[in-house]
Every structure is written in structure tokens, then in C-alpha cells.
């Protein structure tokens, strides 16, 4: 903690002044403004672990989803400024997804509730004191006489235990729920293996991956972990490459990474799964019982159901059977329709007969999840029956996240007293009578047990930004106030309670010194045991009761409607974080607003173009949004992302786009079926330009995102050789003479720029990016925004192509858009190539763009006058201009506290671009100099390389022959983008590796 002065602590003003003292860049580049009287405000007491100008790192845990990744929080002068993965954490191993990184913007979110609020006589929420708030809650609870219900977001740990005890002490009911709670998955596990838990999936070990709609790179179970594993299996390291087949009506980011896409009719995945299981069982000789159960499900039958040729299903089944071990997963829209449980059961059997259970599917890991939707249904009934006098909602937002038809809002009104423990004024909180703002995860003590063998800690990395309290403290304080049954909660503070729990934990683990155990855990970010050995699972008697029912959808519209979780906003919880709104959706590349996806055929049928507004009408409602033509969509389907259309939830989220849930009916059964209705689609005649960062999604043969066949890669061919191999014409059309002439010329031309400093023995920074590993997830982009104080420019400026993405992921379509041969996607991260012979440098009249001695394209913001010639002359188009005073408008209070003090915030009128995180380079140089040593390879890396969950980006000194980056650059797959321009870029891309296209 930065400042142990008793109560007031470090208020925001003090942040800024101390920041001023630290001279950091967090203020605009506004010239040498020495005239202003600056105040230096010292700490009252200087804490040992904060040195001004030096970052302090704290280990903590990410709470953005149930995966529970470990994070390292970088703090400067008592402010958290960046989140990175905790390398020691077994779940994410030092990597972090966009949503995890954006948790920082939750901390500093302008929409946060700044103090406890209560609904006054006038029906408005007004701020009250904490004592008052606690008293009111305690009073109501005592009065409620057991008629108490608690609804809490998912998550497992000491707090949820406390919450459970606390609720039961009150004699109330507790339901832990969040959207996409994987209910079908658990139901299927109960049915097939008799285990009510979620297994861990080992993508890295799989030789063949079959996904039935599971978006395991975006939201499914543990995305960062999945992606790391997937990159291991699917990336090329000389040997074999796992094949990945995506089965489902829509290609999401995961689907776009598939080598083959089976565009089945919506809801028919189970038929494929069973047919494949059938074939595999035959090939592998499965137990008779199963063989019998699977017997009827032939490829022919599946072909009839899905519209995929039987041969193709058979081939994939054989390939799947041949690969050991393989892995089949079900989720996403595939597991969000009425037949979801059937599908998951089928997939379980498939894994079982293929012998994957216990190898790539590991039970016993017991991933954390909520209690499922059923609980919520019961709660609803209880509310209807007036069984709930006091409802406490903790970090859950059912009013938004459930279809309107579910009528939760209406039910809420029936509850006399509603309390929300929510950091934001979300849709649910807005309907409550008492609003208790809890600490953000970065402000509080807490722990999480995301899976067996992992118990990771959270610690306050800074003083609270607002007048908030840890949820635990709220419960304990209320308990103290209310007394009675709650009197048993003796702990004075939540921290004490947690420490007590950990002492018990130490005792369980027979730790000699509980304090040492605690300190060690705090340092590492938790206690991480070896992953438990997979529990032996056997088929439950109900296992053979697999079935497939042809999907039936409500309504009689022409298209099946698929609502899917947005890769950035997830279920909508991300919609108040500018980074997640501005960093484009990885598939459509649309920012800041909703859209409707239609397939190419549907688009032709409807005669609709991108941006034309469509009206979707289902039995339950109707909404309008601009169309986006998605080549990876089944002709019968229109799809929409969730997460938009908030009516509350802060200025960033409010009234932005439409909520796809409005088209869905009241969920019946165990889970919310997001794929359950048909919709009628019609053109409104309106048009709204899509705020997309996509220009022309075709490479036009310019070799930007290259790829080579697996066979060629195995032979160690270069991209050019591979082209010849495939019988393509020679790339270079020049005659040998011309080539020779050009060579001589280009070398001479290059040498002209190598004068002065450049011969000195300095590191030359460079990068290698492996497209065979890159999945296009954009964690690097978010990391760049966080590290380099990149402003979010907003929808209006993105419509004018003014986004500031120093690193962007370009998504190019390959192949035709014919239904039989759907286009595949190639992702390529595009950032400043730091050309040794850079076109941007000579044209700058003031040397703002120039070449540094250590091989960077320097960009001196305070020298730039803004002629923008450099940007015109940059063939990679990776220079970005400050058209407005983004430095004044992009970070509304208190969001500016997230700014990295090591990086100048660029003022209006100057050019900016990727600098290979020069502040990190200079930082490392400073340290190395103090220790009189050269910089060690891998001692530091750029923000993008650090974040990349699939480890596709490697940064280092290309002048050092032993560095990792040099080793990778020597890979025959290596190529440079637009090499013919003689720019001598410092970034080498490794061509993507393609499986041979069959069938």
C-alpha cells in the first residue's frame, strides 16, 4: 500500500501532485509550462515499497470472468497503471486477455458509484453515509425474519463461503449465477460420467481438435489458458500440427482459426458429434452398450440433419479417430440451444470412445462456476410468492443479462427492499433501494479458488479511489450491527476474516509458519499446487441415454437468430470500458456499436449491403441494427453480439447499440437458450455506417499475411519456394539483370542512410511474429493501449478512420465467398515495422521522425509540427495523428489515473506511433547501467509481446546473435511485409502454416 496515513489516505488530488513531483508523462505535452506554480506534496510517511519513479508490482487475481487468472499489477506513485499476467499462475502463465487488462478501467471508471446511496422519499437515489447505509441494511435484515435472498455473481473463494454462511445464518437463500454458466456442460457430465463438475481441457496435448461451437478463444471456460494450449498444439514447430475443425453455424474468432469449417444447420451439432462418435467407436471398439446407443447415428443420418456430406463427416471422424490423443469440446452458440445438453453428452461420449477422457479432458480439476440458471428461476418464483422481503444482489446484473421476457425487473418490484452491492449503477442496481459500492478487486483483500489446487490471492494495490468498502466488510459490519443470528461473525474486518481463513488453510496444509505461508502466498499471488491427477471416470448408467432431437425454434421467421457473447464485452459487463469498446471485435472489426451478421447468401437474398439497417422481428420483440455481411455464417442464420443496449451502467455503455436479448423469450429450463427463436428480417431503408477499422479485407496478392502448406513447412521451404512448389508463377518478374541492378541499387541506397551513429556497437531492436501462433485475439492491442496511453477516439472518429491502434490486427479473407468454399481468414498484427531504411524519416522537415542509433524509428512528439508527410509516406500505414485534443477528452475523471507516467501523453496536432515501448527499453538501459552490465536478452519485452497469450510475438536485440528473436528470424518461414520496397523492416513475420484442404 502506497500510503499508510490513517483515514484519508491518498486522495485523487494527492495522486496528481505526487505524480507532478514524479514528473511523469501523464500530462499533456503542452510545451515547457514552467510558469505555472506546481506544488510538491510529500508523503506524510514514505512507505518502504514505493519509490517515486520506480514501479511497484503486486500479485493479484483477475475477477473479470470465472477463469481466475493471476495478474501482476504495476503501480506507480500509488496508482495502479497496468495489469499483466502472473507468470507463476498455473491458469494463465503470465498472459492476460483484453478483458482482464481492461479491469483497470473498471477501477478508474467514471461510472463507478462514489459513495453508498439510498432511495429517498422522492424515489431518487441520494448519497448517504456508510454507518447509515449499514444501519438501514441491518434493520431490514432483522425485520425480514429469514425472508432474505442473496443473488451473487459467480466466483469461488473465502468471500463466497462467508456469503453462504452469512445468508444461511439469516435463514435466507443464496444463488450464485452469471450468464454462460455452462449448465448444459455440467448436466452432460452428470449424465455421462456422474460428475457434477467442469473438467480442465488440455488443448496443448491434443493432436486433433474438434469444436462444436465452443468459442474457447473468446469466452469459453478459460480463454487465455485455452489459447496458450491451442497455440502449442496448432502452432508449427517443425513437427506435426494439430488439425482444428470447427462445427457450427457461425465462425467466431475460434471458428476463423479452424483449418476446416463444417457449416451445419443451427442446433444440429449433436448429430455430427454422435455420428463421429459412432465411427470412432467402430474404429476403436467401444463397449457394446455404447456401440448400441450410437448405432443409429450414422454419418448418413447426420448428413441429412446438418446438410454436410456424409463422406466429409466420415473423413473427419476417421481423422479424429487416428489422432491420439484428440479433443472434442462443445460450447458457445452450439451449447446454448434447447438440445445443448444432448450435444454436450454426445461430445462426452465422443471424447470417451476416443480415449481422451483422463488425457485431454481432465476431471477433478473442478473449474469454478455458479449454481446455474435453475437457482435464478427458483428465486424468481420465491419473489413472486412474496417469499423475499430483502433481496441482496452482489455483482450480478440479471435485469440486463436476462431476456426482457424473463420479467426479472417486474419481479424485482415485488421485493419490498432491494440492496445492490455493485461498483456501478447497472440496470439492476438502478432498481434497488440501497446501493452499497464495494471495493474494486484491485482495492481489496480477497482470494479465489478457480479450480482444484489453485487458491490465488487479491490484495489492495492502492488506496480506494472512492468512498467504497470491501464487500466482506459490508457483510461483517452488517452482521455486527444486526447481531442476532449474525453475531457469530466475530471477525472485526474482512481482512482479519480472510487471514483467519488462510491460517486455517495453513493448518490444513500442515504449514509450520502460517505467517510465512501467507507472505509467500501474497508474493506469488496465491498457493499453486501441482494440478491434481485426473480422477478416474467411468460411464454412468445414464451414459448410454444419448439422443438427438431435431432442433425446433420459436416463431416462423426465415432465419434462426443466434445471440452470442461479444469477444470483448462478454455478456455486457465490458460495455463501460472504453478500451473494450474501441478495440474492435476480432471477427467483424466493428467498434462501439451493435450490428447484425448475415451470411453472403442471405445478404444476396435480402439485397443488403454493409451498414444498411435491418429490422429483426421475433415472437418476443423487434430491433434494428446495421447489417454486416459475415462470410462465416450459415445461410439460415443471422447473428448478433450481446453486450450492447445498456439503459444504465455509465456514460460509456448507456444507450449504445441494442440488446440482442430483446428478441429472446423467457428462458425455460436449466439455462438461457440464446439460440432459440426464428426472426423475420427486413430492410428498413435506413443506413448507418459501421464504425469498423476494416478497410479492404482482401490482400490483392500483396503478400501481407503469407501462408505455406504444412508439407512445404516441414521441408523447410521459404514462402517463395512454396509458391513455386504449388506451381504458381515466379513472384519476381524482373530479369536477372534487372534483379542484379536493383540489388546493387537497393544496397547502395540503404547504405546512404547508415552514416554517423549507426555503425556504433549498440543493440538493434527487432521483432518476430509467428502467424502460425497468432489467433487474432487482440490482447496485444489492449496491452498497447494500456502501456502507451493511447487515447480511445470514440465512434465518430473511428467512422473517419482515425483510430489510434499503434498495433492493429488486420483480418484478411482468403478464397472465394462461394457457399461450397467459404473464405478462410488470416490475421496479421500490423505495427510500426521500424524500418532500417524508413520512408517516413527523410520526409520529416524537423527530424521529429528520425532513426535512433539503436535501430528504432524515433518519433519525437515535442518536435513534431504535424505536417503528416511521414504518415503519407509510410507504406504500412502505422502512423497515427492527433486530430483533436484527445489528451483532454479521452480520459474523463478519474480515468486519467490509469495513464502510464513513463509515456508522454501526446497533444493535439502531433503524429504518434509504435515505439517498441521505448520507455521500457530506456528503463532497462537505466537499470543495466546502474549495474554496469549490458541488457540481457529477454530481460524486458514490449507490452504486446508480454501480453500475447499464444506467445506469437518475440522482441529482442537482433544485433545479438544469441538472442531468441534472431533464432526465430532465421526460420525459413520468415518474410518481411512489402520487402520489395527496400524498407529493411525490423519485423519478421513467420508465415501461417496451412493444413491441406481435403474433401
Amino acid at each position: 500500500m502506497s500510503d499508510v496515513s490513517p483515514e484519508s489516505g491518498m486522495d485523487r488530488r494527492k495522486f496528481l501532485t505526487v505524480l507532478g513531483a514524479s514528473g511523469g508523462g501523464a500530462l499533456a505535452l503542452s510545451g515547457c509550462s514552467t510558469s505555472r506554480v506546481e506544488k510538491l506534496v510529500p508523503y506524510l510517511v514514505q512507505s518502504e515499497d514505493q519509490i517515486p519513479g520506480v514501479a511497484t508490482w503486486y500479485a493479484s487475481t483477475c475477477t473479470e470472468c470465472a477463469a481466475g487468472c493471476g495478474v501482476h499489477v504495476r503501480t506507480r506513485e500509488g496508482r495502479a497503471v497496468k495489469l499483466e499476467g502472473n507468470p507463476e499462475h498455473p491458469v494463465n502463465r503470465g498472459k492476460l486477455c483484453s478483458r482482464g487488462q481492461a479491469s483497470l478501467q473498471g477501477l478508474y471508471n467514471p461510472g463507478r458509484v462514489k459513495a453508498p446511496m439510498a432511495r429517498g422519499a422522492d424515489g431518487r437515489l441520494a448519497e448517504i453515509t456508510w454507518d447509515d447505509a449499514i444501519a438501514r441494511l441491518a434493520g431490514k435484515l432483522t425485520a425480514a425474519g429469514g425472508k432474505v435472498a442473496v443473488l451473487s455473481g459467480a466466483g469461488r473463494g473465502t468471500f463466497s463461503e462467508l456469503l453462504a454462511d452469512w445468508t444461511s445464518a439469516l435463514g435466507g437463500r443464496l444463488d450464485r449465477w452469471e450468464p454462460f454458466d455452462h449448465e448444459p456442460l455440467r448436466a452432460a457430465n452428470r449424465q455421462v460420467f456422474g460428475l457434477d463438475q467442469l473438467p480442465a481441457h488440455d488443448f496443448a496435448g491434443a493432436k486433433y481438435i474438434l469444436s462444436f461451437g465452443a468459442d474457447f478463444l473468446e469466452t469459453w471456460l478459460s480463454p487465455t489458458e485455452n489459447q496458450r494450449g491451442f497455440a502449442e498444439a496448432h502452432g508449427f514447430a517443425g513437427g506435426d500440427v494439430a488439425k482444428f475443425v470447427h462445427v457450427g453455424p457461425r465462425r467466431d474468432l475460434t471458428g476463423l482459426n479452424a483449418d476446416e469449417w463444417m457449416a451445419v444447420r443451427p442446433g444440429t451439432e449433436a448429430a455430427v458429434a454422435l455420428a463421429i462418435a459412432n465411427v470412432v467407436a467402430a474404429a476403436r471398439g467401444a463397449p457394446a452398450a455404447l456401440a448400441g446407443a450410437l448405432g443409429n447415428y450414422t454419418p448418413a443420418m447426420a448428413a441429412q440433419e446438418t446438410g454436410i456430406p456424409a463422406e466429409r463427416i466420415e473423413r473427419i471422424a476417421r481423422e479424429f479417430a487416428a489422432a491420439r490423443p484428440s479433443l472434442a469440446v462443445a460450447g458457445g452458440v452450439g451449447a446454448q440451444h434447447a438440445g445443448a445438453t444432448e450435444l454436450c453428452a454426445a461430445v462426452n461420449l465422443l471424447n470417451y470412445v476416443a480415449g481422451n477422457v483422463g488425457r485431454t479432458v481432465r476431471f477433478g480439476a473442478d473449474l469454478a462456476a455458479g449454481d446455474g440458471f435453475r437457482g435464478l428461476t427458483q428465486l424468481g418464483t420465491a419473489m413472486d410468492d412474496g417469499q423475499v422481503a430483502v433481496l441482496l444482489v452482489h455483482e450480478a446484473n440479471p435485469v440486463y443479462a436476462l431476456p426482457k421476457a424473463a420479467g426479472f425487473a417486474a419481479r424485482l418490484k415485488k421485493v419490498p427492499f432491494k440492496v445492490a452491492i455493485s461498483p456501478f449503477l447497472d440496470e439492476t442496481a438502478a432498481l434497488c433501494d440501497l446501493l452499497l459500492p464495494p471495493h474494486h478487486a484491485l482495492e481489496r483483500w480477497d482470494d479465489a479458488a478457480p479450480r482444484a489446487g489453485v487458491r490465488s490471492l487479491m490484495q489492495p494495490v492502492m488506496e480506494p479511489v472512492f468512498d467504497t468498502r470491501a464487500a466482506g466488510d459490508i457483510l461483517l459490519a452488517t452482521a455486527k450491527k444486526a447481531g442476532g443470528a449474525l453475531a457469530k461473525f466475530s471477525a472485526t474486518t474482512w481482512e482479519a476474516h480472510l487471514r483467519g481463513r488462510w491460517q486455517a488453510l495453513a493448518a490444513e496444509r500442515k504449514e509450520a509458519d502460517a505467517d510465512a505461508f501467507w507472505r509467500a502466498a501474497l508474493q506469488r499471488g496465491g498457493v499453486f499446487d501441482e494440478p491434481p491427477a485426473p480422477v478416474e471416470v467411468s460411464l454412468a448408467p445414464t451414459a448410454a441415454q444419448v439422443s438427438y432431437t431435431r432442433p425446433a425454434f420459436e416463431g416462423n421467421g426465415a432465419y434462426v437468430f443466434a445471440a452470442y457473447p461479444h469477444a470483448m464485452l462478454h455478456d455486457g459487463r465490458g460495455a463501460n470500458k472504453p478500451w473494450l469498446l474501441e478495440v474492435a471485435d476480432p471477427v467483424t472489426k466493428i467498434t462501439w456499436n451493435s450490428w447484425v451478421e448475415v451470411g453472403p447468401e442471405a445478404a444476396r437474398a435480402l439485397n443488403v449491403r454493409n451498414g444498411e439497417i435491418l429490422r429483426l422481428t421475433s415472437p418476443h420483440g423487434s430491433l434494428e441494427a446495421p447489417a454486416y455481411i459475415h462470410p462465416g455464417l450459415h445461410p439460415d442464420v443471422v447473428a448478433m453480439p450481446l453486450g450492447f443496449g445498456h439503459t444504465e451502467y455509465g456514460a460509456f455503455a448507456q444507450g449504445r447499440g441494442v440488446n440482442a436479448l430483446d428478441l429472446l423469450g423467457a428462458p425455460a429450463g436449466e439455462f438461457v437458450a440464446y439460440l432459440s427463436t426464428r426472426v423475420a428480417v427486413e430492410k428498413t431503408g435506413g443506413y448507418r455506417k459501421l464504425a469498423s477499422i476494416e478497410g479492404t479485407p482482401r490482400q490483392l496478392g500483396r503478400g501481407i499475411a503469407e501462408a505455406i502448406p504444412l508439407a512445404a513447412a516441414r521441408q523447410g521451404l521459404t514462402v517463395a519456394e512454396a509458391y513455386l512448389e504449388e506451381g504458381h508463377g515466379e513472384h519476381e518478374v524482373n530479369t536477372p539483370l534487372e534483379v542484379a541492378a536493383l540489388k546493387g541499387w537497393s544496397e547502395k541506397q540503404f547504405q546512404m542512410t547508415r552514416k554517423g551513429d549507426y555503425r556504433r556497437d549498440l543493440p538493434q531492436w527487432g521483432m518476430a511474429i509467428d502467424l502460425a501462433r497468432c489467433t487474432g485475439c487482440q490482447a496485444c492491442v489492449t496491452a498497447c493501449y494500456a502501456e502507451n496511453n493511447i487515447p480511445t477516439v470514440g465512434e465518430y472518429d473511428i467512422l473517419k478512420g482515425r483510430e489510434m491502434t499503434w498495433i492493429r490486427i488486420e483480418r484478411y479473407w482468403e478464397g472465394s465467398e462461394a457457399p461450397d468454399a467459404p473464405p478462410s481468414a488470416r490475421f496479421v498484427p500490423m505495427l510500426c515495422q521500424h524500418c532500417a531504411n524508413a520512408p517516413c524519416e527523410p520526409v520529416c522537415p524537423v527530424y521529429a521522425a528520425y532513426h535512433t542509433a539503436d535501430g528504432l524509428n524515433g518519433q519525437v512528439y515535442n518536435r513534431c509540427v504535424g505536417t503528416r508527410y511521414c504518415a503519407n509516406n509510410c507504406p504500412y500505414k502505422v502512423r497515427y495523428f492527433n486530430w483533436y485534443k484527445y489528451n483532454e477528452i479521452a480520459w474523463p475523471e478519474p480515468l486519467q489515473l490509469q495513464l502510464n507516467p513513463d509515456v508522454t501523453v501526446r497533444a493535439r496536432g502531433v503524429m504518434e506511433k509504435c515505439t517498441f515501448c521505448i520507455q521500457r527499453i530506456r528503463g532497462a538501459q537505466n537499470t543495466a547501467r546502474l549495474e554496469d552490465r549490458p541488457i540481457r536478452d529477454g530481460e524486458f519485452t514490449t507490452a504486446c509481446a508480454q501480453a500475447c497469450p499464444s506467445d506469437a510475438i518475440v522482441f529482442g536485440n537482433i544485433a545479438d546473435p544469441d538472442s531468441r528473436v534472431v533464432a526465430i528470424k532465421q526460420n525459413p518461414r520468415g518474410y518481411r511485409v512489402l520487402e520489395d520496397l527496400n524498407t529493411r523492416s525490423a519485423i519478421t513475420y513467420l508465415a501461417k502454416v496451412l493444413h491441406p484442404v481435403e474433401g
Binding site: 476494416e694 478512420g801 488486420e810 522537415p845 509516406n873 485534443k885 520496397l981
Partner: protein, 457 residues
Amino acid sequence: MAVVARPLPDRAPELEITQTQADVTRDVVGTLGRASTGYLLLLGGAVGLFLVGLLTFLILVKDGLGHAGYNPPIFWAVFITTFVFWIGIGHAGTLISAILFLFRSPWRTAVYRSTEAMTVFAVMTAALFPIIHIGRQWVFYWLLPYPNQRWLWPNFKSPLLWDVFAISTYFTVSSVFLVFGLIPDVAAVRDKVTGWRRTVYTLASVGWQGTDNQWRHYTRAYLYLAALATPLVLSVHSVVSWDFAVSIVPAWHGTIFAPYFVAGAIYSGLGMVLTLIIPLRRALGIEQMITKYHFDNLAKLTLLTGSILFYSYSMEYFVAWYSGNTFEQTTFFRRPFGSMWWAGWTMIICNAFVSQLLWFRKIRTNLTALFVISIFINIGMWFERFVIIVSSLSNDYIPWAWSDMNPTWADWGILAGSFGWFGMWFLLFAKSFPIVAIQEIKEMIPMPRKRGGGGHH
């Protein structure tokens, strides 16, 4: 100019000026008299437009360039377009006054004063744009080489720096040329007016008495100035063209640019000359002095440069195709058929095709037709620069970054402002100084007199 004073058999009729010397002085000085309402309206309009531009500029300085239609990768758009446009305008003037002077071309006399004025004011206008267009206008002076405690110097490799030098040189020389040419006429006016105006003109005429001696030095100096100004016509716009040719942007990176731009510049300049003179001669009642014959010649020159442009356009497309360079080819394909086809076609039609009408003498000598054509030329040449800059930038190497742009109120505001600024100066000039060179007209009046006058030796 004895050469022309000698009656030429065929040209004689046009060159015959029936007025007496006294008439000439009276007529020309008459143009400086009390301002007509029409004039005042024009001037008011010009000042109004200028104020619009000024306001727009202030808003841009306040909020940033975002208000303009810039849409990356289009980082240069309307402002640079208009900059090149005005630089181009500035070229016909020097061409007519200096080059035709050196070539002893008889008909320049009547028009050269107005074209020189046009040149100076066009360059004055163009010179504003480098400042308007940059992101931090208030540090514009960093582009100038001056010793400073930072030990920093501008980058002499950058074409933008060459621009700074080229424009300032051109402005200096052309304004000196104009002022110098004015001396004898100012003196003539001085002798006609009274009161404070007399004092002003006395100062401006730097003691000109029209003595033999003065004439001798004057004519000699005028000749040298002409010789000095001539190469600038070629050099300045070549430098401007290198702003583009030196880059690696497809369709900019071409050796054809310098001659292509110079031809274009003169073409656009002539267009503007016609646009200005046709109404002017009526407004000032000097039809006697600027006759159909002059327009015929101007039109021929326009036809010549227009045809050079036509050739350059075709050559660009040919080279793009012949080079086999996919980037060039894409750009040139998208010019007429891409998202900005409208600009592409405006440019080709207005410049390449319309100018071809001037093959017909009837059209060349029909002032209405000429005026309309000249308007087409102005529009066409503005769009030429727009197309070269915007549509080339809109689709270069990385397809993912491709985009197109639509100008906004800020773009139009600045464009209007530039016309206002130019018009304002030109009108003020026309009222304060003889818009037709008195002395040289007089020389063309066939009567024996002391020889002398511009350029003779």
C-alpha cells in the same frame, strides 16, 4: 518596344491603338477613380469570404484539424490541394510578364500587369497553406533554419523544406518584379492626382522623372529581373511537384511529375488570367487595350499547355500499365473507377477534353465561351490536385488501411477563405495601381517619339 511598334502587316489592325497618349493616361488613371458600387460589392464579397476562412482557421487552431474531412490514410487533403492550386495560378503571371517579354511577344503588354499582380497574390495565398495545414500551426517557424540553443536544424532532405525556400524565393522575386514594373506608371499617376494620394504615389514612384538616364537603367534592370524570374517559373513548381514525387506513394513516385506540374501550373494560371481579365476589362472600360487578339493568343497558350496535360495524363496511365507494378496499376485503375471516380472524371474532362475546344478560332475569340472554359479549367485544375493527392493516398500499399474521404465545412471554409484573400488583394490592387501598363501601351501608339521602354536595347 520598337520591335512591335513597327507595323506588322498582318497583326497591324489588332495592335493599332487609336487613342492618343493623353487618352491612355486618362483612361488608365481613370480606373483608379472613385470606386463603383459594383466594385465595392465585389470587394465586400471578397472580404466576407476571407473572414469565413479566418474564422474556420481559428476554429481549427482551437480544436485541432479534426474538423476537416481528413480520413486516414488520407493525411493530406483539401488544404494541400488548394495550396498547389494557388502555386499553380501563380505561374502564368511570371510566364506572361517575363518569358513572353524575353521572347519579345508583342501582345503581352496589355495583360502582363494584371497577371503579375495575380502571381504575387496567388503566391501570397498559397504561402498561407503550409501554416494552415500543419497540426501545430504555432510552431511553424521550426521549418525555418535559424540558430537556436537547442542545436536543432531542419531536415534539408525533406521536400517540405525545399518548399519553404522555393515559395519564399518566388514570392520575393515576383513581387520585386511587379513593384519595379510599376514605377513609371506610378509616376504617371502621381502627376495626375492631388492631395494625400499624390504624396503616396510620390513615395511609391521613388523619384521617377522618366529621364533618358532613368529609362536606360530601368529597361536594363527590367531585363535582368525578367531573366531572373524566368527560371523560377520552371524551378518553383518542380520543387512543389517533388513534395509528391520524392515520396514512395504509388502515383506520386514518378519522374514525370516536374514537367507535368509545370505545364499544369501554367495551364491553370492562364485559366485564372482569363477568368480575371474578361470581366476586368469591361469593368475598367479598357476593351480598347485588351482586345480579342490578346485573348486569341492566351487561348492558344492555354491549348498548348492543356494538350501537354492531356499527354501527361495518358502517359501516367501508360507507365502504370507498362511498369507492371501492381500498386501503381491499382491506384490508376481506382482513379476513374474507384470510390472517388467523380473527382477523377472531373479532372480528365475539365482539363484534357475541354481545352481541346480551343482548336477552333471561333471559340478562342468568343469571350463568353472563353470565360466558361476558363471556369472549367479552374475547377479542373483544382480537382487535378485533389485527385493526385487524395485518391492516390486513399489506396496505397496496405489494403486494410484503404479509405476515402469527404470534405467538410472546414475544408470548404478554408477554400473559400483563400479565394476571398486572393480576390481582396487583387481588387485593392486594381483600384490603387494602373492595371494596364501605361508606358508600354503608349509605346505601341505609332508616333515618332524618344525611344525607350521596357526591354528595348
